[in-house]
C-alpha cells in the first residue's frame, strides 16, 4: 500500500480573524496557522492502513503557514517521506490551482491511494482532493470515516457518512482519491522529543510547485465578519438572573411542563 496524503495549513480559529485593508483577504498580521483538522485525520487513516498492510506514506503540502512543522510532525508520526511544494502562496491559493499543482507533482508517481481531508475551512471553491481526482482520472468519494483495503483485489471498501447517522458503503477500485471526514481512530499523539528528533535527522523534499494558477475564475469582492445576526436576544447579568430569564422564556414557549 503506497499512500499519498495531501495536507494543508489553514488559519487557526483560536485567533480572532480580521479582514485586511483591501477588504477581500484575511489580515495576515494576526494570522496563525494550523493543520486542517480533516487532513490530520487523513494522515492518521493513512498511517493506520500502513500499519495494517505495510507500504509507504508520502505527505504532500504546499509551502503555506507552518508547513515545515506540519510535515516534520507527519514524519515523526510515521510518514515515510514529506514533500513541500514551494511557490508564492503568501496570500493563500484557491483549490483549483492547488489541484493543478498536486497533479503535476503526482504525474508519473505510483501510488494506490490518495487521502486528504474532505474539505478545509477556507475551501471557497471546493475541496482540492476531489478536483485532483478528476485531473488524474481517478474515482473520488468524500465524507469518508472508514476504509478497509482489500489488497488482493485491488479495491477499498469505504464508508461514507450521510445525514441522520447513516453510512453508505462503497467498493472503490484502486488507485482512488478519498476525502476523509474522520479516521477510524483519533489522530495519534506524537511526543515533542520525537518531533525535535525528526527535525534533526529527517528531511523534507522541497520542489517548486508547477502548474498554472487559475486566477480570476471567482472574483472575491468582499470579506467581512458576520454581524451577530439581529436574531439573538442577548441575556446579561448574573448566572442566577440569566437562569430566571431563561426559565421565563422556556415557560413562554411551553417547555419544561
Amino acid at each position: 500500500m503506497n499512500i499519498v496524503v495531501l495536507m494543508k495549513q489553514v488559519p487557526d480559529l483560536v485567533e480572532e480573524l480580521e479582514v485586511d485593508a483591501g477588504g477581500t483577504l484575511l489580515d495576515r498580521a494576526w494570522l496563525r496557522f494550523i493543520t486542517s483538522e480533516y487532513d490530520d485525520h487523513a494522515l492518521e487513516q493513512a498511517l493506520l492502513l500502513k500499519e495494517q498492510h505495510g507500504g509507504t506514506v508520502r505527505v504532500l503540502a504546499l509551502d503555506m503557514g507552518e508547513a515545515d512543522e506540519m510535515l516534520f510532525t507527519a514524519l515523526a508520526k510515521g510518514a515515510d517521506s514529506a514533500v513541500k511544494l514551494s511557490g508564492d502562496f503568501a496570500t493563500g491559493i484557491d483549490s483549483h490551482s492547488a489541484a493543478g499543482i498536486y497533479r503535476h507533482a503526482l504525474e508519473g508517481a505510483s501510488f494506490d491511494l490518495i487521502l486528504t481531508g474532505v474539505q478545509a475551512i477556507d475551501d471557497l471553491d471546493g475541496p482540492a482532493g476531489a478536483m485532483l481526482a478528476t485531473h488524474l482520472g481517478l474515482p473520488y468519494i468524500g465524507v469518508v470515516s472508514g476504509i478497509d483495503v482489500d489488497t488482493a483485489n485491488g479495491e477499498a471498501h469505504v464508508r461514507k457518512e450521510y445525514p441522520g447517522g447513516l453510512l453508505a458503503e462503497f467498493t472503490v477500485d484502486l488507485p482512488a482519491v478519498i476525502g476523509i471526514q474522520a479516521a477510524m481512530q483519533p489522530p495519534r499523539y506524537v511526543p515533542i522529543s520525537r518531533i525535535r528528533q525528526t527535525m534533526k535527522t529527517a528531511s523534507i523534499d522541497e520542489t517548486a510547485a508547477q502548474g498554472e494558477r487559475i486566477a480570476g475564475a471567482i472574483s472575491v469582492e468582499r470579506m467581512y465578519k458576520p454581524e451577530r445576526a439581529g436574531s439573538a436576544t442577548m441575556l446579561e447579568g448574573s448566572a442566577d438572573s440569566i437562569a430566571e430569564r431563561l426559565l421565563d422564556i422556556l415557560t413562554e414557549h411551553g417547555i419544561g411542563r
Binding site: G126, P163, G164, E169, S219, R222, K225, A232, I255
Partner: protein, 326 residues
C-alpha cells in the same frame, strides 16, 4: 439577461432532501426575476414519484437508470456532466451536503466553470451571480461574483426557506437518456443504519446540546441533570462524540442527526456550518458560549455569553424550584 438555472436534486431512502426545495425555491425566485427558467436534474431509479414533487421547476430532467438506484458519486458525476453540457444552464445549484461535496468541485473541473462553495446567500445583479459564502467555520462571510456562464454554486442547507420550493403544481417531467455507466470503478454496496437501543433524538422535543466548550466528560453529568429536569435529552456536536463522551446516536449535524426540536439549547457550541445544518430548524434556539463572536449567536433566538459551568447549574436549580410544589 435571462438566467436559466439548473438544480441538482438529491434524495435518500426515497425522500428528497429539504435542501432541494430550498434551492428550487431560490432558483425559481431568481429565474422569475430575470425572466429565465429552472430545471431540476433528478437522478435515480424508479423515482418518478419524487419528480412529481418538484412542480415549481419549469422542467424536471429525470435520469432513470439501474446504476443510479443508489447514489454513487462517480455515476452521478458522469450523468450530471452530460446533462449540464447538453442543457448549458447559466447557473448550477448543488447542495453543500455529503453528496454534493463529491460532485460539485469535480464538475467544475470537468466543465471548466467556476465553483463557489458554502453559499448562504445568492443574488443576481447586472448579469452576475453574487454569492455570499460562509468560510472559516462561519467566522467570515465572503462575497464573490460570478459570470453567469455555467458557474456552479454549492448551497449550505438552511440558506433559504424550504417552503418556497414546496409548491403543489403539476410537474413537467422530461426523461433523459442515460449513457456510459457500464464500467464503474465504484460500486454502492449497502446502507448502514446506526442501530442501537439509544433514544431517538429526532423525536425528542427538548435537546440540550454540548460542544467543545464542555471541556471534560465530568461536565456532561451536569448537563444530563439539566436535561433530566427539562425532560429532554443530551446531544452533541461532533468533537464531543469523537472524544467518546457520547454515542454517535447523539451527534447533530451534517454527519449526524437532523433535528427539529421545540427547544435546542447549544452549550459551548461555536456553530460551525456542519453543526448548524443539523439543528437550524429548531423552534427555539438558546446558545451559551464564552465567545461573544461565536457564529451560533447568529442563528440563536437567545444568547448568553457565559461559562456553561455557571449557567447550567443555575438553570437546573431554577427549573427544579419551578417544579417543586409551592
Amino acid at each position: 439577461m435571462h438566467a436559466n438555472i439548473l438544480v441538482i436534486a438529491e434524495h435518500l431512502k426515497g425522500r428528497l432532501s429539504g435542501i432541494v426545495f430550498e434551492m428550487l425555491g431560490k432558483a425559481h425566485a431568481l429565474a422569475t426575476e430575470t425572466g429565465g427558467g429552472v430545471e431540476v436534474l433528478l437522478m435515480g431509479h424508479g423515482v418518478r414519484a419524487l419528480a412529481e414533487e418538484l412542480g415549481l421547476a419549469s422542467r424536471v430532467l429525470l435520469c432513470d437508470h439501474p446504476a443510479l438506484a443508489a447514489y454513487t458519486p462517480q455515476a452521478c458525476l458522469d450523468v450530471a456532466e452530460q446533462v449540464i453540457a447538453r442543457r448549458a444552464p447559466d447557473l448550477v445549484l448543488i447542495a453543500s451536503s455529503s453528496m454534493g461535496l463529491d460532485i460539485a468541485a469535480p464538475l467544475s473541473v470537468r466543465l471548466g466553470v467556476p465553483h463557489v462553495s458554502s453559499c448562504r446567500d445568492l443574488r443576481i445583479t447586472a448579469g452576475r451571480a453574487i454569492v455570499t459564502s460562509q468560510m472559516y467555520g462561519g467566522k467570515m462571510l465572503v462575497e464573490s461574483h460570478l459570470d453567469l456562464r455555467g458557474a456552479i454554486v454549492s448551497v449550505l442547507p438552511g440558506a433559504f426557506p424550504e417552503d418556497a420550493g414546496r409548491i403543489a403544481r403539476e410537474a413537467v417531467i422530461e426523461a433523459l437518456p442515460v449513457e456510459g455507466l457500464d464500467a464503474p470503478h465504484m460500486r454502492f454496496t449497502r446502507l448502514i443504519e446506526q442501530s442501537g437501543t439509544d433514544i431517538d433524538i429526532t423525536q425528542t422535543p427538548v435537546l440540550i446540546a454540548v460542544g467543545r466548550g464542555i471541556q471534560n466528560r465530568e461536565n456532561i453529568a451536569m448537563v444530563e441533570e439539566l436535561a433530566a429536569i427539562a425532560q429532554g435529552a443530551v446531544c452533541a456536536s461532533r468533537p464531543v462524540v469523537d472524544q467518546g463522551w457520547l454515542p454517535m446516536t447523539r451527534q447533530i449535524g451534517r454527519s449526524g442527526m437532523i433535528v427539529k426540536p421545540k427547544l435546542y439549547m447549544a452549550l459551548g457550541i461555536s456553530g460551525a456550518p456542519e453543526h448548524v445544518e443539523g439543528m437550524k430548524d429548531a423552534e427555539l434556539i438558546v446558545a451559551v458560549n464564552t465567545d461573544a463572536q461565536a457564529p451560533i449567536f447568529g442563528i440563536a433566538h437567545y444568547g448568553v455569553v457565559a461559562d456553561i459551568a455557571d449557567v447550567v447549574p443555575a438553570l437546573t436549580e431554577a427549573l427544579r424550584n419551578a417544579h417543586a410544589p409551592a
